[in-house]
Symmetry: C2
Subunit: 330 residues, 2 copies
């Protein structure tokens, strides 16, 4: 009788807790997603019911893959997540109440190492481990979604700062008398440079100019960054101007970010970044115009290197792969 020992493939679990859905995937060290499942988050329910459903899903997932794979740990990306404390704190889009000790709950559930960070930090870690930032040491990842999130890599590690909240670039101030922001202040970068921000820019232009535009035929409530992108690709000058202005403001503030951090690259990630040249060109032009001499023509402005559909799960998984790699080294 020949004893054939098959070595199991090591995988981690990447979890992206969103306001609508929670996506769970098993990812190997090369960034291949072995299997992925999505469950509704049911944001209006208390967290206990979410974790019951989460447990059932994971259990069935693990049963189905038991033979070939070995699960090493869990990485979680979530809004309002605190890396240091392993908690989700006062999430505006989840009815979970004050502070939920997510890492502790999941660790007890699976008896495995668990780490959690906010979604923008997870995106940055995804780029570092599997995406466009591989091999880099100093990188800034900007997520241009409904808001503007950021993850900062310094010396190959996520920057958390004194309290775990470093990298809130959505809330650097463009104009202290500018647009009202969800944070209660005025003129934050995300009120200009985000999917929502560019919609506000279009609405301002509709009000303040007499430029013809297909966007004038859409209700204010129905304007989306996707529709602005489509209009711009058709040559709509109002839409093109809105991209130009968004890039101008984003590039100017990113020049300040470079003066702080001197990164090798800035990665634009998320919905609005998918507008490609429409957003990259004016942002890059404005960045270079506003950079201090010693930084000019040095900082790359590049798109995400993660496959679109899996980026959230890959980012969360990258977080735990990075921790496991670090433990191996020490």
């Amino acid at each position: 009788m020949i004893d054939i020992k098959i070595e199991k493939v090591e995988v981690t679990l990447g979890v992206d807790i969103g306001g609508t859905n929670t996506v769970i995937g098993l990812v190997d060290r090369q960034g291949q997603v072995v299997v992925e499942k999505s469950i509704p988050t049911q944001a209006h329910e208390p967290s206990s019911r979410f974790f019951t459903r989460f447990h059932e899903t994971i259990t069935s997932l693990l049963v189905s893959i038991d033979e070939k794979y070995q699960l090493l740990g869990v990485g979680i990306g979530a809004p309002n997540a605190n890396y240091y404390r392993g908690t989700i704190e006062y999430p505006p889009n989840l009815s979970w109440g004050g502070v939920t000790p997510v890492v502790e709950i999941v660790r007890k559930m699976l008896n495995l190492p668990v780490v959690m960070t906010n979604d923008a930090n997870a995106a940055a870690m995804g780029e570092l481990v599997f995406g466009a930032a591989r091999g880099m040491k100093h990188v800034v990842v900007i997520t241009l979604g409904t808001g503007l999130g950021s993850g900062i890599i310094v010396d190959g590690k996520l920057l958390y700062g004194a309290d775990g909240f470093a990298g809130e670039l959505g809330h650097v101030i463009v104009d202290p008398h500018g647009r009202t922001c969800g944070c209660g202040r005025h003129g934050c970068l995300e009120t200009y440079a985000s999917a929502t921000g560019i919609c506000r820019t279009v609405l301002e232009k509709v009000a303040s100019t007499s430029q013809q535009s297909v966007l004038r035929k859409i209700n204010a409530a129905d304007i989306t960054s996707k529709k602005i992108c489509e209009a711009a690709l058709e040559g709509d000058t109002l839409a093109l101007d809105a991209f130009e202005e968004t890039g101008k403001i984003l590039g100017m503030k990113l020049a300040d970010t470079v003066a702080h951090l001197s990164p090798e690259a800035i990665i634009l990630f998320g919905g609005l970044a998918q507008a490609g040249d429409l957003i990259f060109k004016p942002t890059h032009r404005s960045l270079e115009e506003n950079l201090l001499g010693i930084f000019k023509n040095k900082v790359k402005l590049i798109p995400s290197g993660l496959p679109e559909g899996n980026s959230a799960v890959l980012g969360a998984s990258a977080l735990i792969w990075d921790e496991l790699d670090k433990k191996k080294r020490t």
Copy 2:
């Protein structure tokens, strides 16, 4: 016969290369300056003559202390210094030409470990090792001198970024259409928040208001931040307003810095910081007003903890003590 073995006191050499003078001091691990000497830099001469004088001074210094002290290494703070390369590059205030390999020259001279960084980074390291930042992990040090320099500590280490130039906070942009800056751009923070900046603010107020002020009796060329401070302490409203405005702008931009780095403390250092409450109060008020909610009432704004006269030498010495400590640990 009794053999008495006296253990030597370990010291490092701190060197601060300035446009006018170069200060050299021996500093022990507790931050005591054992001896300090100053030589004229003679900025108009080529570097070779400087290093000849430097060598003579060091040699006589070492002969004088030979019995009791053991020199372990050299730390250098200098304008336009590149930490990664160990070079001073295109210094505007020294006739040294392009690139001078200072670390290599001094290492060959003394056969000891040598490190060099720019003066603001050295100040930050001085605060971390001997001053107000002892025991902290995430700190920003702002030097308010002729210009505005900064040194950023992340995870207990100086942040250099991809090319060694991280932490150029003097050149974040307050207003892209604002004051001309020595860097060739407009509206950089140091054109407002520095000894020179506050003088410009006073001159603007002299021109644009009819406020009475003792500062109206001084030639524009003779106005200094010290005279503005003296006037403010006498209750001169124009001078007080100038401090108020300087603090307002500095605090606003420091709020952006906190959104990037989430430091535990920001230390104000240098000439203008010695105006005390006159500059700290409006800066702190503006910082808190402009901070994102999660950062409010968390970040300390504190003065330097280094003795005024020795701060440059202590900073340079701290740089090499830090490297030697790191080597010991590994």
